[in-house]
Amino acid sequence: MTKLESKIIVVTSGKGGVGKTTTSAALGAELANRGYKTVVVDFDIGLRNLDLIMGCERRVIFDFVNVIQGDANLNQALIKDKRSENLFILPASQTRDKDALTTEGVEKVLMELQKEFSFIVCDSPAGIERGALMALYFADEAVVVTNPEVSSVRDSDRIIGVLNSRTKRAEQGSEVKKHLLITRYAHNRAQRGEMLSVEDVQEILAIPLLGVIPESTAVLNASNQGIPVTLGGPSDAKEAYRNAIAFLLGETVETTSQKGWKKLLGGLRLFNRSPV
């Protein structure tokens, strides 16, 4: 596939442990699978984990900070995924401090990546410190990962505020397109009123919904093995991620009523049976 106009997507949340890296890996792998040349960049300097989630931890030699500081060139630091020829990762450094990410340095690396890749997925660290701010500063679009839980929703609201005010696009008077991705969702608990529902979260955060990823054993299974969820075996989480990404790409996804039917049929164990 020929390279389209390059797009920078940040995966962010404010709160830690909600599924940013899982989502970055799933998103990167699925985009690559669809033929888009994609790179996933780990912005979590000092606490890199994307390499582990994507299963290339033993192949890291040079990292993002090495490239910024001129100790290595981009091609030396990029790791090509062994499963997908369109998928690359740029790992974060494990040791250096966060101040290594300068605006100029990050911009230079991203501009170089834009020449080569259709999608640049920026995996943000938690918090609203330097690493997180740098991950979102140059973004065209943002996936805000939120758990249906009070602290996660509050932090997502904070990060939406940051996306509205402290990005390059905001400074230029335009805006970053924001998408809400609800992860670790338990439909039946929400129905019983024990968990914030999709509608609750959406109403509070007031940004368009991209998708809902159910709480799933497939996520831990995938991370245990270093396989992005979207490259793993069939699972509810994989299907939900694929739907969300199709939606992100502007494809029409099956309607909720169709999903309802599928869920009912799946519940009867007639369809969607896992081959494993």
Partner: protein
């Protein structure tokens, strides 16, 4: 535990999402009214105060600067309470939206 108590406990759990939603609505609206992440707000407040003080003697606490985030725009709200002695009309509030 009596059946009645068990039922009460069950009922309390069932409503927890509603409680969460209400708490979040309050905390989020407060967060947004604080201006969230507009770093310039304290500085803006300070500079406004300096300018206003050139003309009217106002109390430091009487200048209220808020930035509210709506769906697709932000509203900067300045609320300045002028003391009665400074203006002949008496107590006056200047509100710029």
């Amino acid at each position: 535990m009596s059946i009645f108590k068990k039922l009460l406990a069950l009922n309390a759990n069932r409503k927890s999402a509603k409680v969460a939603r209400e708490r979040l609505q309050i905390v989020v609206s407060h967060q947004r009214s604080e201006g969230g992440d507009a770093e310039f707000l304290p500085k803006l407040r300070h500079e406004l105060l300096t300018v206003i003080c050139k003309y009217v003697k106002v109390d430091k606490d009487q200048v209220n600067v808020q930035l509210q985030r709506m769906n697709n725009c932000s509203v900067l709200e300045l609320n300045i309470t002028l003391p009665a002695s400074e203006l002949e009309q008496g107590y006056e509030q200047v509100r710029i939206l």
